[in-house]
Amino acid sequence: MISQVVNGLMLGSLYALITLGYALVLGILGIFNMAHAEIFMGGAVLGWLMITKWHLSLAFVVPAVMIGGVALGVITEFFCVRRSVRAGSFFVPAATTIGFGLILISLVQNIAGTNPLPISVPFQFTQVQLGNTSFPLVSIIVFFTSLIVLAVLAYYLKGTSLGLATRAVGENPEVSQLLGLNATRIVQITFGISGLIGTLSGLVFGIMAGAAHPHLGEVAGLKGICLVVIGGMGSIPGAVIAAFIGGMAEVMTAIYWEAKYVDGVLWLIMFAILLFRPLGLMGKAEELERLQ
């Protein structure tokens, strides 16, 4: 039982990592970045490319994947968001980023094939003994990675002037521009950070699952949107709490119900949450106004 709770926490920390990327762009800026799921997939595929194909050391792979994530995020912003966000409807950037996601999926499918792409690291099956139960080392790494990312992100948003500017642009782009902020540049930076978190979570997921797959984003990546909605729009603590609840719920479903229902559980939770609490767990009504 204890080990299942710990498994739930580990999965929850992975989901927290996926969700943070969404929470930045969707929750703070109010822009739907549907390509984030595919950036997540791209992180896993980059991991496969560098670890399995090129046999690079992990000390090089992790920063390289993060830089790749920044690049993907900035490209998404430049081609899909900069022009279309002026249309005034949430749907236009959502559709263009879906288009970018399709391009990424198609590239991976045509270059690497549709089969699962194996990723293996030396410590893949290492178990760590804690008390009388043992846990995979990979899960513990995931847990601490997401804690570190969470702490850095929280400091960035609350403690630095750039984070303050990001929140101001999310609050009201026109007024923040009048006050001398370069809103375009700040949106670009936010997309870069979100892409970094996206590929990092993809890499971590790929190492944890042992394989990457072109359709990874569709199943695992899209859950980030669901968790942001459960947690409440614009609330990073809410998103993290939702991620841990979601991770626990999936593990419990796999044990007490059936493993084949696992992928639907989060969406059912979202259905129930929106039915009884339309703002999400920790959302505020004024945060919702950011979405067009």
Partner: protein, 289 residues
């Protein structure tokens, strides 16, 4: 060349694509977008397929059941999403699509992940009767009081609410109508492709319909129809395009939305075609007098 296009399967596919595009266009005419039409088309396909093949019920009954269940599912999920925000209706339909795929995989009677074989009952003429009826309905809808209401809500939610329209009611209604058409497309899909599996109804199927509507033009229903026809023919023409289908769709969506947000066929185009025919009609009338 022409014989490729006249195969029954291609005609079926063209009709189904047009239906699917129009079913997505109807909520968008009311300012609502759905990421979950793949779930709606899947619900229609699975229910009707199970009814005709596994239970041996007559096809018309299965068709009506498929339309009703998709319509009800669309209305239920959009209504819950609309409790908080317009954009949430789109996310709720995404939830519908994901839950539907998981459910299709989990039901053993319909073959689980493998899918199952449906008796191919549908002939191309049946699909095209369905398409014509739906297009006629949508044409009448656009020019009716209800269609004008949808347009008012699309242009400004706040103003139409201030003028006393129950906007949530009309949005849910739009999802219901669109859902019924998506269900019909699913019924035809199941009974003409005759092999349905959960993976066919994955989230990215919606993107196909998005591309039809966005490339064709989202202002009138002729845009959705034109986009569906154009892209279906394009993919059939260009053989290498099958592998790079998603890539082409992605590029098309980005280019069209960035540089021609109205799509290829705008309302002005449709009106000018109308004026052209009016002019010809006037000319013919003068000659006969």
């Amino acid at each position: 060349m022409i014989e490729i296009f006249l195969t029954p399967l291609f005609l079926d596919l063209l009709g189904i694509n047009i239906l699917f595009a129009v079913s997505l266009y109807i909520p968008s005419a009311c300012g609502q977008y759905s990421f979950g039409h793949c779930g709606l088309i899947g619900l229609g396909a699975y229910l009707s397929g199970a009814m005709t093949t596994l239970m041996g019920l007559p096809f018309p009954l299965a068709m009506i059941a498929g339309m009703v269940i998709s319509s009800l599912a669309g209305m239920l999920f959009s209504a819950i999403g609309l409790k908080s925000k317009d954009a949430y209706a789109a996310i709720m339909t995404l939830a519908l699509a994901q839950i539907a795929v998981v459910a299709f995989k989990a039901i053993p009677a319909t073959g689980g992940v493998m899918g199952f074989l449906v008796t191919p009952i549908v002939k191309p003429f049946m699909v095209w009767i369905g398409v014509l009826v739906c297009l006629g309905f949508t044409y009448r809808l656009e020019n009716s009081r209800l269609g004008r209401t949808f347009e008012a809500i699309k242009v400004s939610n706040k103003v139409s609410a201030t003028l006393g329209l129950n906007t949530t009611y009309f949005k849910v209604l739009a999802f219901g109508i669109g859902g019924a058409m998506a269900g019909l497309a699913g019924v035809f899909y199941a009974h003409s492709i005759s092999w349905i599996e959960p993976q066919s109804f994955a989230v990215w199927l919606t993107v196909t319909a998005f591309t039809y509507v966005l490339v064709g033009g989202s202002e009138t229903m002729w845009g959705a129809v034109g986009g569906a026809v154009l892209l279906t023919f394009l993919l059939e023409f260009v053989r290498f395009a099958t592998a790079w289908r998603l890539f082409i769709y992605g590029i098309l969506i980005i280019v069209v939305l960035n540089f021609r947000p109205t799509g290829l066929i705008t309302r002005e185009n449709v009106h000018s075609v109308g004026r052209f025919f009016t002019r010809i009609g006037g000319f013919v009338l003068r000659r006969t007098e």
